[in-house]
Amino acid sequence: MTPKVSIRGLYKIFGPNHVAMVDRVRGGMDKATLLDQHGHVLGLRDINVDMQPGEITVIMGLSGSGKSTLIRHLNRLIDPSAGEILVDGEDVMHLGTSALRGLRQKQMSMVFQKFALLPHKSVLENAQLPLSVQGASAELQASEGRKWLARVGLEGFEDHYPSQLSGGMQQRVGIARALTANTDIMLMDEAFSALDPLIRTDMQNLLLELQKELHKTIVFITHDLDEALKLADHLVILKDGAVVQQGEPQGILLNPCDPYIEDFVSDINRARVLRVRSVMRPLGEATYDSDITANSTLEDLIARSGGDTSRIYRVVEDGTPVGQLEMTDLFKALVPRVSESRQSVR
């Protein structure tokens, strides 16, 4: 499968002489030295990420890791110091002003952490903004705007103003606005981080539900690992402007490649996140207590077994047996591999 968006060898350095500094960073200079000796700030270092069509790619990192900078490179709100960004195989860096505007209007829409709605426009006018920018007819604007507002659960609020809505509702407007643009790619910059936890869960479910139907290529930025694991098809973990590990989230959870990630994942409720298919073994010659689907979480299985550690289950996917799972393996998988630094503290 060819990736929808592909980032290759991307560097971003902040400072007056940033392009010249790329070679020094390629030569191995680290962030602190670059800042001390040259007064330039290293934003992103050698980023290579492929984003598959119809998948949610989550880029996760703590604040200052460069994740917001990275997402702004995709529609070139920020220009890189070096590297290329391919969208459908075309390098975004080669686009002229009007072609870039076309890309932003037709191919990528964006949802912002602080909603960034127009305060002097009604909810409907905000939602139809992408179409009005493109000069669509008033009827089309209104019908599309209403359709997507209804889809995100804001029917009846069309004539309100953003300041009259709660944070969660404002972000629904933000999502409706991005959906009205009818783009293949949706960029979500910490879209749910400003919302309180319950609303956040609602919005995550809304996004997953929409995604089941629309199959957009979504790039989602977050600092919250739980959110990342819930949404991600492909997880990219960023630290100090570089990718530490990327891949399928279950894989990262079970095989963290770096002490930083081990620390990160050790606080997660693994039973809820890990799925049977990630910890099962190949089918053996055992007698099985019962069948379980490959996609159930370990938590489901623990509940089902009633805590009996001696059981062995057969794992079934789409009606065919694909593996087996012993409860002892399950419990082993629940204990995170802890980095040595952390162990010595304990």
Partner: protein
């Protein structure tokens, strides 16, 4: 004998000093010295500051201080005709607009003008109390026979404010878009704001005839345009970065961004600038009566010139009343914009 003779002799500049010694017009100090009224003891006791005049005494080649003012004057007079050639046609419409507005405000009968002004007040402020207050003030002007002069002042303020906004908002937009433009324009604005108001009039008197209305029109606009420029610039720079970023992300063109995002969001600040501009043009219109601007200022001037205390004070209070209604109306308009933003 001057104190700094030795300095020039020591530097070997004596021949340069005396090269084209001529009988330049004498300064007052020289005249006094010649007539022998200054005593020699005074001269030897004090070391005068080495000003141009003191140095000139020792060395004729050094220019006198009065050459500075004379030079500025000569320089201005030298480019005067060229300047006039360029500025005259450009500013001519201003004369027409001022004369036209004055004609309309003077010749319209009061029973048509007052309702028209009240309608305008209602339209911009949508406030009963403000409209009622304006009605009372206008009727009061009529009652004390100051209606006509008040209308003249109002006409000038309207034209000058209108032009200030028309010119100032685009300049403010330009400033907000470019830091270089801002760095260049801010000192000019500072100069315009701090230059004593009378000083504006001096070069203008040389350029245009005092009977032309544009003379005071230009002075008023130069003085009053500053706040609307400053606050347009500020207003646009204060627009939420996140909203601008969203506008960029959805591919708005620069014009769409300006018309749909920046100007609407900067509107409260721009309106505050317009309010200030109105107040400042009203302040200047009084001073402009020195150069034949009609209106209440003429009466104030008469009060000063002829020591007619009552005339001056009544006219002065009339200006205050005018200022109050203009301020109230523009503030009410600003409040209306803010209110719409919040709960519409």
């Amino acid at each position: 004998m001057a104190q700094y003779d030795g300095l020039f002799d020591g530097m070997g500049l004596r021949t340069w000093c005396d090269a084209d010694k001529e009988d330049a017009p004498m300064s007052m100090a020289q005249l006094l010295a010649q007539s022998g009224t200054s005593d020699a003891a005074d001269e030897s006791a004090g070391l005068p500051f080495p000003s141009l005049d003191a140095l000139h005494e020792a060395c004729a080649a050094v220019p006198q201080t009065r050459d500075l003012t004379a030079g500025i004057e000569a320089g201005f007079l030298a480019i005067r005709s060229e300047l006039k050639f360029v500025l005259d046609p450009i500013t001519q419409p201003l004369s027409w607009m001022l004369d036209g507005a004055l004609w309309v405000f003077e010749s319209a009968p009061w029973w048509a003008m007052i309702p028209a002004l009240l309608l305008l007040t209602w339209w911009v402020s949508r406030s009963r109390s403000v409209t009622g207050f304006v009605a009372v003030v206008l009727l009061f002007f009529g009652l004390i026979d100051h209606y006509e002069v008040a209308m003249q002042t109002l006409a000038i303020v309207f034209v000058c404010t209108g032009l200030s906004v028309l010119l100032g908002v685009p300049i403010g937009i330009g400033m907000s878009k470019s830091d270089t433009a801002q760095r260049t324009i801010v000192p000019i604005l500072d100069l315009l704001q701090t230059l004593p108001t009378f000083v504006y009039l001096i070069p203008l008197i040389f350029l245009f005839s005092v009977t032309e209305s544009k003379l005071y029109g230009i002075a008023i606009i130069l003085y009053a345009i500053v706040p609307v420029i400053r606050l347009t610039d500020l207003g646009i720079r204060l627009v939420d970065r996140d909203v601008i970023e969203a506008a960029n992300a959805f591919g708005l063109t620069a014009w769409q961004k300006l018309a749909r995002v920046e100007l609407p969001l900067a509107l409260p600040n721009i309106m505050a600038g317009v309010n200030q501009t109105i107040m400042m043009s009203l302040a200047m219109v009084v001073i402009a009566s020195l150069v034949s601007a009609p209106g209440l200022g003429v009466l104030v001037l008469r009060g000063i010139r002829n020591l007619e205390l009552g005339v001056g004070i009544v006219a002065g209070l009339g200006i205050v009343l005018l200022a109050v209604i203009l301020d109230r109306v523009s503030k009410a308009a600003l409040a209306r914009v803010d209110r719409q933003r919040k709960d519409a």
